[in-house]
């Protein structure tokens, strides 16, 4: 135990040292903490009070909502897990057995102020259970739920770190997600009702069921289910953790070339291919694709209103925003040196990055176009292409500026965190506005729409070119600073 305590002491020290040294990390945590504390102070007491009243009357609707919220918040661990300084791979060189390594990894998550706040909020959320019929058993069930959420998030994190498992598990999960999304979209209100029925058997609802149970059987069944679920997930975590740390499967097979599906011609072709390959390895770009796939599948059963397609295009860009605004985030310091060695101007480096992102966005949105032609006609398809082009130019223009001024380290197979949320929000607004204006103009009957749309398109192009040139020059002068920032936030 002394060894674990020692490691955790250094883990804590390293975490906070980085917190202090990296401005963006501090900004990120301060914003997230402000939002969470604000929500806890303003919304939570009222919700908990209502949940307490309902539980005393044997109802669980509000408590279900509270437990669902905290269950989902625990998934934040998936993001935080990537931010620990003393990683398991570093620690495995010490004489520490796997169980202790896993213990260190789980406890390391609590270095983060966000994880600590979620833990405090979770404990606070147990208060309504005092008014429930089964206070003690309900509390035990709730603690099992939080443990389940934490361990599940750790499990997902471990699985994502192993290439072989990513390939085997993520594809079936994506298919299930697309199918559910398509059902939800195609059935509208009925779909929501069906999802609610399915949700009745989920862990948060099991906790509520225990807390209001009137018979021993009504306690034993959900409680046993939670215990079994925890046991299974814990075993899965231990097994996957061991395999990920010591197993050969952690390696990619040698000799497999980067796939050439998303090929790009020209002198920069090789670099563009590499860039899109990097961007593809962040989790941020996948929800957008899944959303488009779900919409496409839903469209097979019947036409969706054009506004759904148009909204999806805007949302896809918002999903991508952290990657677009931090295009050097996946690079190492050594890779930035290579950019300096290659005979490329800063503007060309940025252009290569932008082309890589364009390939990704193109792949994300590609299915929408034929479906729009099929269901709504070529005019609607053209409108979607136009909106996507304007959105792309506006997002890239802002993204280039932020990429060279406020870079932060991103991890492969993780959602981007650590960025400044305010910058992200401003970027989302600036990047989306021209596209939304174009969509409004396209949907309006005004006679000057065409000229206005052409104006917005031209303006976006000019702003993009100015941003590309300025950011490229700035990259040449700030490459060392960017490299230092990326090193600091590893």
């Amino acid at each position: 135990m002394a060894g674990i305590a020692l490691i955790l002491r250094y883990q804590w020290r390293a975490f906070w040292r980085r917190f202090i040294r990296t401005r963006h990390r501090a900004q990120f945590y301060l914003t997230v903490l402000t939002v969470l504390v604000g929500a806890f102070v303003t919304i939570l007491p009222e919700r908990l009070s209502r949940a307490a009243q309902e539980l005393s009357a044997g109802q669980t609707t509000s408590m279900d909502g509270v437990l669902w919220t905290f269950g989902v918040l625990w998934l934040f661990v998936l993001v935080e897990d990537a931010n620990v300084s003393l990683t398991t791979r570093h620690l495995r060189t010490f004489p520490i057995d796997t169980r202790r390594l896993l213990f260190v990894r789980i406890l390391s998550v609590f270095c983060s102020p966000v994880a600590l706040l979620i833990a405090c909020g979770s404990v606070f959320s147990l208060w309504p259970l005092l008014f429930a019929r089964q206070t003690i058993l309900g509390t035990i069930a709730a603690l099992l739920l939080f443990a389940l959420a934490l361990v599940s998030a750790m499990c997902a994190s471990t699985v994502l770190s192993v290439a072989e498992w990513r390939r085997r598990l993520l594809a079936p999960m994506a298919v299930i997600g697309i199918a559910l999304g398509a059902v939800f979209l195609a059935q509208g209100v009925q779909g929501v009702a069906r999802l609610r029925t399915v949700a009745a058997g989920t862990p948060p609802n099991l906790v509520s069921a225990v807390s209001v149970a009137a018979t021993p059987l009504a306690v034993i069944v959900p409680l046993t289910t939670l215990v079994v679920m925890n046991a299974v997930v814990c075993l899965l975590l231990f097994w996957s953790f061991r395999r990920s740390v010591f197993g050969e499967s952690a390696k990619q097979p040698t000799g497999r070339s980067v796939d050439r599906v998303l090929w790009f011609p020209g002198r920069f072709g090789g670099l563009v291919r590499m860039e899109q390959h990097y961007f593809r390895k962040t989790l941020d770009v996948w929800p957008g694709l899944l959303l488009v796939l779900a919409v496409s599948v839903a469209s097979l059963f019947g036409p969706l209103p054009p506004i759904v397609h148009q909204s999806i295009i805007v949302i896809v860009f918002l999903f991508n925003i952290n990657v677009i605004m931090n295009c050097f985030g996946l690079n190492t310091s050594a890779e930035l040196n290579r950019y300096a060695i290659l005979p490329l101007r800063g503007t060309q480096v940025l252009l290569v990055k932008n082309l890589g992102l364009t390939v990704i966005v193109g792949a994300q949105l590609a299915l929408l176009i034929p479906i729009a032609i099929w269901r709504s006609g070529p005019f609607e398809a053209g409108a979607e292409v136009l909106a996507a082009t304007v959105l792309l130019l506006a997002h890239l223009a802002w993204g280039n500026l932020v990429s060279v001024t406020a870079p932060f380290k991103m991890q492969f197979y993780r959602f981007a965190s650590n960025g400044a949320p305010l910058t992200t929000m401003v970027g989302g607004t600036i990047g989306s506005t021209p596209g939304i204006v174009v969509l409004s103009l396209l949907n309006s009957e005004s006679s000057v729409s065409a000229a206005a749309i052409a104006g917005v398109l031209l303006l976006s192009l000019v702003v993009y070119l100015v941003s590309l040139h300025w950011s490229g020059r700035r990259f040449e002068h700030r490459r060392h600073i960017i490299a230092e920032r990326l090193l600091l936030t590893i």
């Binding site: 390696k251 070339s257 980067v258 072709g269 090789g270 300096a340 005979p343």
Partner: protein, 257 residues
Amino acid sequence: MDNPDHGPWGIDARGVTKTFGSVTAVRNLTLRVAPGTLFGFLGPNGSGKSTTVKLLTGLLPPATGEMFVAGHAVSPENIALRRVIGILPEDAALFHSLTIWEHLELSGPLYGLSRQNTRERAIQLLRHLDLERDSGTFIDQASYGMRKKCALAMALLHNPRILFLDEPFEGIDPGSSRNIKDLLVTLAAKGVTIFVTSHILEVVERLITQFAIIIRGEVVCCQTVADVQRAGMTLEDVYFKHAGKPAIGNLAWLGSH
């Protein structure tokens, strides 16, 4: 930006200083290397060798001083300079998600080589460096030596006039090391200026024609190997004369079980 007056020199640095905060990594570096010279840049760990390579290749801007390489002013913006130099940096500067072959394949066209030409040269370089069988290996799974050789192949691919090699023999197997040494000698004979940093004095002594020793950021000695031999000394003698012999600690407890 480029100055033809500096043309006769492969490398010409005048009064170059580089500071990192309060630390002076390189102090008043003045160095002239003629074309076709195999120049050794020696010094202990942390003496400023790699920083000097970064300065001379434009990877780091100096605080003061001016530098010309192959007649081109050294600056991070000078693309013409980058086209005529080849660099094997300290960290190899490779992309971890690409294979060795893909590194060469993407590098050639950026230097203006056709794809066909790139492929032909890449095959020959990989064969020479004994990397042919490993060309499909991803960089993040390649050994340290393989990464070095890949970065060296990238440095040579575009047939540079000046080569900067930071510790080229570190982690390289004896066979490849021999091939690299032969290649460097041949290139120097053809007029390519080669700037090599190394810790391995026995290796560089047989290879280089001229050298400088840098200690704590200052060049303390710059002479030819022929001069050293004429004085009846070895490179090691000269090195320890300037760098001093390291202190020996009392490690008697080691091995006492």
